[in-house]
Every structure is written in C-alpha cells, then in structure tokens.
Subunit: 235 residues, 4 copies
C-alpha cells in the first residue's frame, strides 16, 4: 500500500491479517477500489443507467450477503461472536436493506422492480463463491471472504470524502459516498477487521495464509467485476 | 389428539401441518408433554437438583437452537422469511439467552458455571439431529425439526396454566410455566405454526409427509429424553 | 421440444420432470445446446485456442462438479441412492478426470498447466451456484441443478452424431462428440433422468415446480455462458 | 499411553497430531478402548443379545459415517485428497456395508431387520455430532472428529490380537477382532493418521489445538457410550 493511500484510512485498524491480505494483492485491490465506476461516482460523471443497474444488483447482492452473515452465526464457535453477528444480520435485513430500497425509490426503482431482476453473472459468481468458501471451510474462511466487501467500501468512502477532487455540488452520487465513508459504516468495517484478527489467532491464519490469500484475491477480483454487471447470467 | 387436550390449546392455530404431525405421533407427543418432569413442575415437587441440571443443559441447548435459526435464515428462499427469522434469532441471543442467564442466577448458577458444563448425551443427540435435518434437507425439513420444541413448550405452558391442579402458592417453578404459557411465547409458537403451513404448501409437504413425520417423531422422542439429561456424554 | 429435435434423443427417457423443465425454458436450452461453440465442434471450425481455453476450464469444472456429487451422497435419504452416487463420484474422480487429463495432454496441456489456471468468472458463477442450490436446498434441488450439464451434453452428443452434417474426416473435435453421444455417457444421463423422477415423486416436485424451474433456468443460462469463458474472474 | 500398550500399536504412525490428541484424553480413550464390551469380545463372554444390538446400530452408524466421508470429499481443498476419500467412500458403501450385512446374516439379522430399527440415542448423538463438526468447521475439524472411530478400532483389534489372553477357540467374536486388527484395516487407519498430519500442517492445527481436542474428547466419550446403545432415542 503506497503511503499516500494509507493516509485516507484513518479509522481502520493497522497491522492486521486484513492489511496483510490487502497488501499481498495490491494490484487486484487497486483495480477494485480505483475502478472507473468509483472515479465516476467521485466526479459525478457515471452514467445514471450504470448506477441503476448497479443498484438493482446491489439489492440482490445484499440478500446473499445476509445469507453469508447468517452462515457466520451458525459457524461461530463463541456465543459472543454469534450475538455480535446476529445483531449485524438483523441490522442488515431490517435497516440497510430498507435504506437501500428507499434509496432506490429516489432513483425510480420500486422494490418490485428490484426483486424481479435476474441476478447477473458477476453477482452469481461473487456471492456464491463467498457462500461456498463459508460452507466448505470454517468461520475464518467465511469472514476472510466477506472482508473484501466490508472493508473495501469503507476505504473507498473514506478516500473519496478526504479527496478535495471529489465533486460535492450537484453530485447525485454524494449520498452513496457519504454512507460508506461515514462514521457508522467505517466503525462496522473497523470492528470486522478486529474480529478477523481475533479469529486469525484462534484459527491458525498464519499456517493457512496461502489458502486464505487465494480466496481473498478471488473475492477482490469479483468485487471489481461486480461494478459493471452484465444484466443476465448468460447474456 | 383427545378433545380434552385440545381445549388447552386456545391460541394455537388448528388444521395445520403441525397438527397433523403431532396427531400422527400421539404416543411420543404425550410422553414428551406429560413427562414426569413436567408434572413435577406443575406440582412444585421436582427436586431442585433436577431443575438445576435441566437449566444448565437448556442454556447450552439455546446456543445450538440459535445456530439452527441462523441456518434457517441462510436457507430461506424469501426475503420476508429471512427478515422474520433474523429478528427471532437476534431476540433469542440478546433477550432470551439473557433472561435465561438471569433466571439461572436466581438458582445460584452463574454464566461461567453454565458455559463450563459439558453437553449431555441427550443434548448432543437432540441439537445435532436438528441441525443435521437442516443441513441435509431444505428449509421445510429444518423448520419441522424445530417445531417440536417451539410448539411443545407453548402447549405445556398453556395446559399447566389452565389446569386448576397446577400449584400456584410457593411453587418455585411457576415463573417457568408462566413464561411458556404466556402471551408472548404462545404468539411466537402460533407464528411458527403459520409459517410452517406456508412452507408446507410451497415446498410439497404432502408428498414428503412420511419423511417429515419420521424426523418429527425423532425430535419429539429426543425432547422427552432431554427432560432428564445425563450430565456427561459418556457417563 | 420440436419433433425433429426429439428424434435425436433416442435413449433418453421421456415424460419426466427433466423433460418438463427443459420444455419450460426452451429458449435458454436452445441457446445452450445450439451455441456457436457447439456448431464449431460439429463443423470442425472452432478455433483451437477456444477449445484449449474450454478444456482448462472444463478440468477445473469437473473438480467442483465432483464436489457437488459428494454433497449429493451426503444429502441422499436412501442407502441405495448413496451407493449409486458414490460410484459415480469415484468414477468421476478416478476415470473421467484421468481421461480428461489424458485428452488435454493430446492438446498440449499438462496437468500442471491445468491446475495452475484461475477459475473463470463463468466457472465460478456456474459451479458455486450449483453447490449453493445443493447446500441451501435438499437432494432434489441439488440434482435438478446438476441435470442441465449431465443431460445437455448427452443431448448435444446424440444430436451431432445423428446429424449427417457433422464433419467426420479430419475433425479434431470428433472424439469429444463421440464421448458425449456414446452409449456409456448416454446411459449415465438416462439413469440421472430416472433417478430425478423418483426424487420428484418422493420430494414433492409438483408443488415446488416454480422454484425448481427458476434454478434450472439459471443453470442452463450458465451452461451457455460457460462455452466461452473469460480467462480471469475480473478480466 | 503406558509403554506396554504402545507395543501393540506396531503399524500405526507415531509422533502425530492424532497421538497428541489421544494422549491428551488418556482417561476417555481408555474408557473407550478398554470398555467392558471390548473385554467381553476378547473373552468371548459378551451376551449375544448385546452383540446383536450393537450390530444393528453399527449398520445404521456406517450409513452416517459414509455421509461424513462424502462431506470430506466436498470439503477437501486438494484433488488428490478428494480422490483418496472418494475411493474410501465407495469402498465403505460397496464393500464394508456389504460385509456388515453378510456378517449380520450369520447372526440372524436380515438387511430388512437392520433398516427397520430406530437409531439409538447414542448413535444420534455420536454421528450427528461428527457431521456437525464437519459442516460447522473445515476439513481438519471433520477428519479429527472421524479419527476416534477409524483409529480406535484398529488399536483395539491390534491389542486383542497381540494379547495371549484373548480367547481363540470357540470365540464367536474372533472374526470381528480379526477384521479390525487385520492388515487391511490397520493400513486404512495408518493412512488416516498420516493424512490428518498433513492437514494439521496446512490447516494450522497447533493454533487450533484446544478446539480440536475438545471435539476429539467428545467423540471419544461418544464412542464409549456407543458400545452399549439404548434401543430407542427416548427410552
């Protein structure tokens, strides 16, 4: 990670398993977090049709993401971990999904519109890969595969908010940036990093590092692909 | 179900898949809901040591039961179902488990005491069987296996509360009876029955009835065995 | 299915759940089984580079496909079914994968080459979707999601072998066509169809048809997409 | 492990994760491998009714044990591991289960008799706990939970065969002892120990040791309980 980038990440814990994973796939991480979709959000120049396509797929994504958190509750070996993750899960399904639906409404998309769309090839690849990491492996495999999304969005939000080049006036995408760079979401990401570090210790992440990195790299690639979903699985 | 028994069940939906399952293992259901442990609660004559043993195992049981609800969120094909179950799950881990811990404290058992105990043979058999029904099968298999506990406790609570023979004065077990026969818990059980009926329709319960009944009967037997757990898996 | 097409399918059972699923997504099934990749195999005009890319991904696919059959053994409610599927699985890993490796060697690809390649976006989407259908649902959900591949390849093989327009002389792809249209593979597909029909009956396929069709349609779309994999998840 | 005992174990690898686990629950391991059921086999004094009950439950056990091996194929991160386990699985379902059925026939139990019996409380606890270890955790968690059965039977067989006190003449249980102390089964157990050691290295067993030991101890206790199953889950 170049020093300049690190400066944006105030608020996210350092010296962690997550940071090691991120550093060991720097190129893929950059492709994901500096994708032209992201620059388009910052400049306010992203075509609205692209954003609408993304919003639909992101709604469908959240549903699978919630399934992955449910799986994490099931897999967790500690009551305290189960409780924390179950709270995240209820929040995801009750609050976040609701906000997403409200947000989509502002963009002219009703919940019925959202639910009717087919999952894109990119969505299927990304979400089912995460879920498979979780079912095939243990809680550490699962949470590593979830971390690229959780932390990447916070990092993008933090960077764009800190960047004087990000357009504020008349940028329809500013609310998106403010959500993911905002204190609430950054706090969730920071907690996720800390939790992952505790599991790294108890579940032998050092010995398993090569495998964990391989999964992590795949999820980071799939995050990048997800920015520009094709509309149909087989189109 | 004999008419006399039915009278106690005001508040629980009738004519459902659950009722059919219950009726088709009447003997096992009776052994479970009329177990001497239950009569001992009603009469206030159950030895306190037995109740303490039960409380410990019930704490350990709730943890596995929560894992099964997490699995149900993961398996649910509908967002509305995921949301409802995730709320139950958060409630189970935040509220119910907390109440259970508080209740155990009144009985001289700290949370550390609870967490230190080994799972009994009966607990292992019951909870891992439920979880296996869920992982092996679909959401219907899972919710059928959860229903014996969910509804049975409501039925026992309702019956004991309605029974003039239940001892009120100086019965240390009355709070237990009042929780499970109370409006809040009975409402949860009723919702569970209704939800199961919706899944019965969408997931072909009629064609699958023989298999569902076999699983249900096993869970009912295991519920009865659970009333009097042995303290160690291999004792 | 148009009558002309049906004639090619001698050897595959009719009037089954599989046939109903196939008929209810005729357009997607046609896109898959009449893909330009398939015509290129029949005419011997497919660029060799495309076939090599496909061979690599197909090797990686077989590994995930074997995992899905292993899951089917785990999920099967009957010993006879477990036994039949375990034999298929051992055959898949011992014989088919071996043949595939030998075949790839003829095309200049060593096993080390195969194992080094990243899974394509299309592969990830297809295989992890199948595995998720299996973990989320029951044995019927899993076998429906496996059937598009199992039967589609037999149907393609049978059709191309029966078609006088298929080029025989000097067609490097003829061995591929002869494997999938050959008696051994067609027999496997036929047995798969019969097995699915037995499960359709015992597991309530009629009541669950809308959900099963939705999964089936997605796998058929993903099969079509798989013919022309992109080489990297996020390329 | 006392030196005398170690001498019987010629043929089983030493200095392994398995040996460490076994040593760290010496008492439970002794209760399992020196159970009165085992002494009864060696002396030929075990009541035949006890052995028949055991044979029935062992048949039902093998089915669940095969499901656990299928899960291991699904979970394995390496093709070589998948292939080796799939061969074991096919062997288990085709050969071992067949031998078991033939053996039971000699004891007057038909396959129909076997399949009709309910799973005992001990069987349910043991097998569903193993399967849950596997679904909840990764391949290492699963194979640790399977090892108590795999290796314990070899150790018992080896010890009884080496013991001059074991009755040979007219001991109806000698064939059982000869199977598990025989070269073929001992080789399987030895391979299992070696495989576990490879996974211990790649999957961080040292860091995870406390959790692995807890699961292992539970399975060893459940093995001991399994020698004398009660006939019904809730009897």
């Amino acid at each position: 990670m170049p020093p300049a980038a690190a400066e944006h990440l105030t608020g996210l814990p350092r010296g962690t398993l997550f940071e090691r994973l991120r550093r060991d796939c720097t190129r893929e991480w950059h492709d994901y977090t500096h994708h032209s979709f992201v620059s388009g959000l910052a400049a306010g120049t992203l075509p609205e049709a692209s954003f609408r396509t993304y919003l639909v797929q992101d709604y469908l994504y959240l549903i699978q993401y919630a399934r992955a958190y449910a799986l994490a509750v099931y897999k967790d070996p500690e009551v305290a971990g189960m409780r924390a993750t179950a709270r995240l899960l209820a929040d995801l399904l009750d609050t976040e999904l609701g906000l997403h639906i409200a947000y989509c409404r502002d963009w002219g998309l009703s919940e019925a519109d959202l639910a009717r769309q087919p999952e894109s090839l990119e969505l299927l690849a990304y979400t089912r890969f995460m879920l498979d990491c979780g079912q095939r492996g243990d809680i550490l495999d699962l949470l590593v595969s979830l971390s690229a999304c959780l932390v990447g969005y916070a990092e993008i939000g933090l960077r764009l908010l800190a960047d004087p080049g990000t357009r504020r006036d008349g940028n329809r995408y500013l609310p998106w940036i403010e959500v993911y760079g905002g204190a609430h979401y950054v706090q969730l990401a920071a907690e996720g990093i800390v939790r992952l570090d505790a599991l790294a210790l108890s579940h032998g992440a050092d010995a398993r590092y090569a495998m964990l990195l391989r999964s992590f790299r795949t999820t980071v690639r799939l995050e990048a692909a997800f920015w520009t979903p094709s509309c149909e699985p087989a189109s």
